[in-house]
């Protein structure tokens, strides 16, 4: 534990002692308003962020927030990438997943938030998230927003109906898949493989200790997308897909939500923001008698416990922002204030990156979403356990967008049966390597 952190913790402790009336140890930094009327443009796909932003404007009426939702992941990134290169058209604030941050650091698109006083905020966040926004341990490129430790969302009613225990290990998962398929005559799948989102797959590999990238001291890279763990995970899911136990509906489309609601998919490996996503997307069509619950991610063996991280985002300020001070105030408030964290949880299901946020009693309220949608289950505690089991030392390469696109392509071919899933992983490595080199990076393959 470094000195700064210790100091901050001590400060925090003092705050708790002095606030004798407070029921919990939540603390917020001092927010200092800026002069004049400002409108900030914010690119984010967090559901309901406009509601949270309205809360902010209530508190700081001189700052209006214009939330623009261009769609999750690549859809926003492609636009941001273009705007950054163009030197205009970028928003004041953008949402970027940790894995994609290096891409924008590389293009020199982001403001070093130390110039806006971000150094003082370090102690408010879960330490590994701070390392993600400050990968060189100097410049700070974003304020951590949420994290995405993996757990398993499942349909309790389906397991009950077929009298199958909820799987705790991957072996049990595979067996449950076979049993479910047999009993339902192939109608119900045990799970779904998100073939178009490589960060999902990477998180599963991550949970089992596989690493995809590392950077050498001279700045050159080593890429190991085809590491043994990666291949083993791909083979595991590939076998289940071939056997017909697992479906491959594209994530976040009605083609996934509808079979989920109709009871044709029993589980889904979801990040901590998943429950919020379920509650929002299935609101109009939850499915008859559906009981959604969360359990730990299946493990290699009983008794072991590990998880990986899918997504989780930071808020960044682009160099094109004309009001970096106001933008800083907003992203600081959004991610450290009680109002911001609670609103983001209820409207968007964001699992906060702020340390104190995790213990907020409001996040355990069974009567509001996402907990309400999960039958009042204390969803956040399950994910808090998962969060502690994430190996936090994970490096991302700046060409993740290319790796992501290639992954979707090779997996589509594997699903069509044109290549095996292990071959797909080898192709993923080779093709991404070629693209990274073409885009100028010094990178070698390795194991």
């Amino acid at each position: 534990m470094n000195r700064k952190f210790l100091k901050a913790t001590m400060l925090g402790t003092t705050a708790i002692l002095s606030a004798s009336l407070a029921q919990d140890n939540f603390r917020e930094p001092q927010y200092r308003d800026v002069q004049g009327n400002v409108t900030l443009e914010v690119w984010s796909w967090v559901p309901g962020l406009d509601k949270t932003a309205a809360e902010f404007t209530k508190q700081f009426p001189n700052i209006k927030i214009n939330v623009v939702n261009l769609g999750g992941g690549a859809q926003t990134y492609n636009r941001l990438q273009t705007a950054c290169r163009a030197g205009s058209g970028a928003p004041d604030v953008a949402q970027i997943e940790y894995g994609f941050l290096p891409t924008y650091i590389e293009t020199n698109c982001l403001v070093d938030l130390r110039t806006l006083g971000a150094s003082n905020l370090r102690s408010y966040f879960v330490p590994w998230t701070w390392r993600q926004v400050s990968p060189r341990n100097q410049e700070v490129y974003g304020i951590p927003q949420d994290t995405g430790p993996l757990a398993m969302i499942y349909r309790a009613d389906i397991f009950k109906r077929y009298n199958i225990p909820v799987p705790r290990t991957w072996d049990e998962f595979a067996r449950a898949g076979a049993r479910l398929s047999e009993l339902s005559k192939g109608q119900v799948k045990i799970g779904n493989f998100f073939s178009t989102y490589s960060p999902w797959f990477i998180a599963l590999v991550w949970a089992q200790g596989g690493q995809m990238w590392r950077q050498n001291a001279d700045g050159s890279w080593v890429q190991t997308l085809n590491n043994p763990t990666s291949k083993a995970v791909a083979k595991f899911w590939g076998d289940l897909i071939k056997a017909g136990y697992v479906s491959t509906f594209p994530a976040f489309t009605p083609d996934f939500w509808n079979p989920m609601a109709a009871g044709r998919i029993a589980t889904s490996m979801e990040a901590a923001w998943g429950p919020g996503s379920f509650a929002g997307s299935l609101a109009q069509n939850p499915g008859q008698g559906a009981q959604y619950r969360v359990a730990n991610l299946p493990q290699r063996t009983l008794g072991s416990f590990a998880s990986g991280n899918w997504g989780g985002s930071s808020n960044v300020i682009t160099r094109q922002s004309k009001n970096p001070q106001a933008a800083m105030l907003f992203i600081n408030w959004l991610n450290t204030s009680r109002t911001g964290i609670v609103s983001d949880w209820n409207n968007g299901g964001l699992f906060p990156a702020a340390q104190a946020g995790l213990s907020l009693p409001e996040l355990r309220n069974p009567d509001v979403n996402p907990s309400k949608f999960f039958g009042g289950q204390d969803v956040i505690t399950v994910y808090q356990r998962a969060s502690q089991a994430v190996n936090v030392d994970f490096t991302w390469a700046p060409w993740l967008p290319a790796a992501d696109a290639v992954f979707a392509d090779v997996m589509a071919q594997a699903i069509q049966g044109r290549i095996t899933f292990e071959q797909a992983i080898d192709q993923w490595q080779e093709r991404t390597l070629a693209e990274a080199r073409r885009n100028g990076y010094k990178v070698t393959g390795g194991q």
């Binding site: 690549a74 859809q75 990134y77 492609n78 636009r79 990438q81 273009t82 950054c84 290169r85 891409t103 590389e106 293009t107 073939s195 178009t196 700045g219 050159s220 509906f249 594209p250 489309t253 009605p254 083609d255 509808n258 060409w399 967008p401 290319a402 696109a405 979707a408 392509d409 589509a412 069509q416 093709r431 693209e435 073409r438 885009n439 100028g440 990076y441 010094k442």
Partner: protein, 278 residues
């Protein structure tokens, strides 16, 4: 002339200039350095780029003839019909899809093709069948795009062809009738030859249009997976917007322009020669 130069010649020259550079990691940071013809060398070895051409080539040789055949048949039938409400109705109905922006028709058809919103899949599921995933493979995705493109452009092409049939002096038909020509012979020996110039034009525009397909696959992404190499333009967009590699994108764009140019000139020449022979 000036505007023409600024917006057509300048971008071409700039693209050529741009395509001679490559990004490189210098002291940890990406920098643009002079790369000569490196980008073109990569382009010729780039499997995804080649695949996108193969896709669009097969797409073209199947979809364009179907579309133009349909357009011709519909134009001929329309030409036979007596003026009146029905004729106007059909013409407008067939032409209507052309007025819809391609990305919007892509979105709407996308919903008609999706696993759950599609009425066809609804009927299949009601009868206990498995819904069809129309984006399950690249050929199927191309088929879906083909249908959208056909739906949009048949009417347009039909009106072009119909318009040139209307330009034919009626006396020609009367003369043919006097000579005892039957309906089919009138079509075969009078109308089809007269349609030739219009068919040229529609064919040319179809080839160019096919090489540019982008909005439809882009829109289809909202219902499922569409690979980047589905069409050259989609790949171009990925290289530029996703990877930020504009110099490579410029090289690919020039290759695409050159191939389209050669292809359409080649086609025009063949057709022109054939028509001169007759």
């Amino acid at each position: 002339m000036v505007t023409f130069t600024v917006f057509f010649v300048a971008p071409v020259l700039y693209a050529i200039y741009l395509s001679l550079f490559i990004p490189q990691q210098v002291n940890g940071n990406l920098t643009q350095v002079f790369g000569g013809l490196q980008n073109y060398e990569w382009a010729l070895q780039d499997n995804q780029f080649l695949k996108s051409f193969i896709h669009i080539f097969f797409f073209g040789i199947i979809q364009i003839p179907i579309m133009l055949l349909l357009a011709t048949i519909l134009a001929l039938i329309l030409d036979q019909m007596v003026d009146g409400f029905l004729k106007r109705f059909f013409r407008t109905a067939f032409y209507l899809p052309y007025t819809i922006p391609s990305v919007i028709s892509g979105l709407l058809w996308g919903y008609l093709y999706s696993l759950n919103l599609s009425p066809l899949n609804y009927i299949i599921q009601q009868n206990g069948g498995q819904p069809i995933n129309f984006l399950a493979s690249t050929p199927m995705t191309l088929f879906v795009i083909g249908n959208i493109v056909t739906w949009t452009w048949v009417g347009y092409n039909m009106v072009v062809l119909f318009a040139s049939l209307q330009g034919v002096p009626r006396e020609l038909y009367d003369a043919a009738k006097v000579d005892g020509a039957t309906g089919w012979n009138v079509i075969r020996y009078i109308k089809l030859p007269l349609l030739r110039p219009a068919l040229f034009l529609t064919l040319l525009f179809s080839i160019i249009g096919t090489s540019q397909i982008f909005a439809e696959p882009f829109a289809l992404r909202s219902i499922g997976f569409v690979p980047n190499d589905i069409t050259p333009n989609a790949y171009l967009y990925a290289v530029g917007a996703q990877n930020g590699n504009y110099s490579y994108a410029a090289a690919l764009a020039l290759v695409l322009a050159a191939v389209t140019f050669i292809f359409s000139s080649f086609f025009l020449r063949i057709i022109a020669r054939n028509s001169n022979d007759q």
